[in-house]
Symmetry: C2
């Protein structure tokens, strides 16, 4: 089937390429270990090389197809810096701020900017803004305007408030990266016994402790219990990592609810890796939130939606392009 | 002058040896990079070798002198495990629980046990208990029985409540180790420009943010601002580490005050490294605490006091030994 868009999710460690058909459906996809910090060489040539590896054959077959990308490829360390756009913002404002690169093949490669929230504690995202608009595109018309809190768990979790279809205030929690640094580079890792199986009870106990009176010491304090419980026989080394994960996620959710002023009726959608989202869903449910849902993937839908708003799609009628330009 | 005790502070990375005179005064001291994880070989021979390196000549000169040690030398990875003693405890209970080792020279080497606080989040210390009793030994008689909070900043900060001269409940905050792991092993380190000079203003801003409404997100969230402030030009790379230090210490003190139920009149004494204690003193003062003092060193005094309570001192009158035994 004819390709209407090549969509790329180009992060720090990986490059995912999607060949999309006329309705945005994925015709073919590829994943390469060609994140922006893992390229051969440097400069334009390194990015061109990785792009050819990912989808040179698609471009050979249909040379005029437009390309759009989100993620760290638009950072200062990426191919071309796409300056952050300030929140609140809608898909149109993002679409109006794409950074173009003319590739050596002559194809246009469009980079989606990240989002920034200025203030005393500035917050930034790159890639998650595309997931947010992908998720919103999949909602029913009447759901789209209702207040919504979107959680994107990961190495840096983002919590994004959405009102009237616009990406509003957001928070970052470095939970995933802190977890990895604690296990890999502090005393806590010494008593951990590696274990593939997920110990749900240990995870749940961690969440419970973070939410209890004992959790008032905050993560800098409670994490020490992941070691002392092993030393005193209250926790197996095989369960320590899941207990620590529960502690950190529990603390994240307590603080998130406070900062995002989320009450138990808050509608929350999680987007991302299923196993990680399952942990967050469990913890949210046990934190009293009742209106929860989950979407495993929203990046491709977001890339498609933003390309559409920017009038990039192959064979897109001119009036849609105009409509988008007018909104700029 | 005659040696009455050889006192050792034997931790994970270093071994400090003190030759003490009849009143506990330091006649000579040495510091070696012979922590328990940095010995040549293993088992008794490795510890004997390090001990000879540190003070073999002292023992040659006065073979009968007793030795006493605190710190990780009494851990499961140390020379001989000295089981934790549960709080609350006084110096007498510690002195009654020393673990003896007969060295190959025939001298007795006594290991001070650590302290444990059992409960849902168990807390342990090894070495700090000796500092606490050293500090208490230096107080006036009438001060010793007043409620006191002792802060021991470090890679794992300890906050110890003292009542009626007894070591009571205590908390651990892994602030120092978390700080090092964040700078060395997360994205936060990437924007740091190494700098010898201390940026007091950046540190103070970190403390202020942690205590402000913006700090409600907790350390998992606020730490991200140490990167984004650099990205957005609000903080120099040279100041990032001190800002991050201020954030973490600010969060630690907020949580400590809550968990230790410390109000602004709480009498607080800090013990330890001067530069680090200076940061904590500044942060405590700006957190509203008014009764603050500082002691740079308390380990030697603690080793002496516990040896005295145990009746170990060379030429100690028999009635003092008896007095101590009776209290066991």
């Amino acid at each position: 089937m004819e390709t209407h868009l090549i969509a790329l999710d180009w992060g720090t460690t990986s490059l995912r390429a999607y060949r999309l058909g006329p309705g945005g459906e994925t015709l073919e996809e590829r994943s390469l270990a060609r994140g922006i910090l893992q390229l051969d060489g440097s400069g334009d040539a390194a990015f061109e090389g990785a792009l050819d590896e990912a989808c040179g054959d698609w471009l050979d077959a249909e040379p005029g197809v437009p390309l759009i990308a989100c993620g760290m490829v638009g950072s200062a360390q990426g191919w071309r810096e796409a300056a952050y756009v300030e929140v609140p913002l809608d898909a149109g404002r993002l679409a109006a701020a794409l950074t173009p690169i003319e590739t050596r093949r002559g194809s246009m490669f469009w980079v989606i900017p990240g989002a920034i929230q200025n203030g005393p504690l500035p917050n930034v995202m790159r890639g998650e803004e595309t997931q947010v608009f992908g998720l919103l595109a999949g909602l029913d018309e009447d759901e789209r305007d209702e207040p919504l809190l979107i959680g994107l768990p990961g190495s840096h979790s983002k919590w994004v408030t959405v009102e009237n279809g616009r990406l509003g205030r957001f928070q970052t929690f470095m939970t995933g990266e802190v977890y990895a640094a604690l296990l890999g580079h502090t005393l806590l890792g010494r008593t951990v016994v590696p274990c593939e199986a997920f110990d749900a009870a240990a995870f749940e106990e961690g969440v419970r402790v973070a939410r209890s009176d004992d959790g008032r010491g905050g993560p800098l304090s409670t994490i020490f219990s992941s070691r002392t419980r092993v030393l005193t026989g209250g926790l197996r080394g095989e369960s320590q990592a899941d207990y620590l994960s529960g502690l950190l996620i529990g603390h994240e959710l307590m603080a998130m609810a406070e900062v995002c002023q989320a009450d138990s009726h808050q509608r929350i959608v999680l987007v991302g890796n299923s196993a990680l989202c399952a942990r967050y869903l469990w913890a949210l449910e046990h934190s009293g939130f009742s209106t929860l849902s989950f979407a495993p993937q929203a990046t491709v839908a977001g890339l498609w939606r933003i390309a559409e708003r920017a009038g990039l799609l192959a064979n897109q009628p001119a009036d849609e392009v105009f409509a988008c330009s007018a909104k700029r």
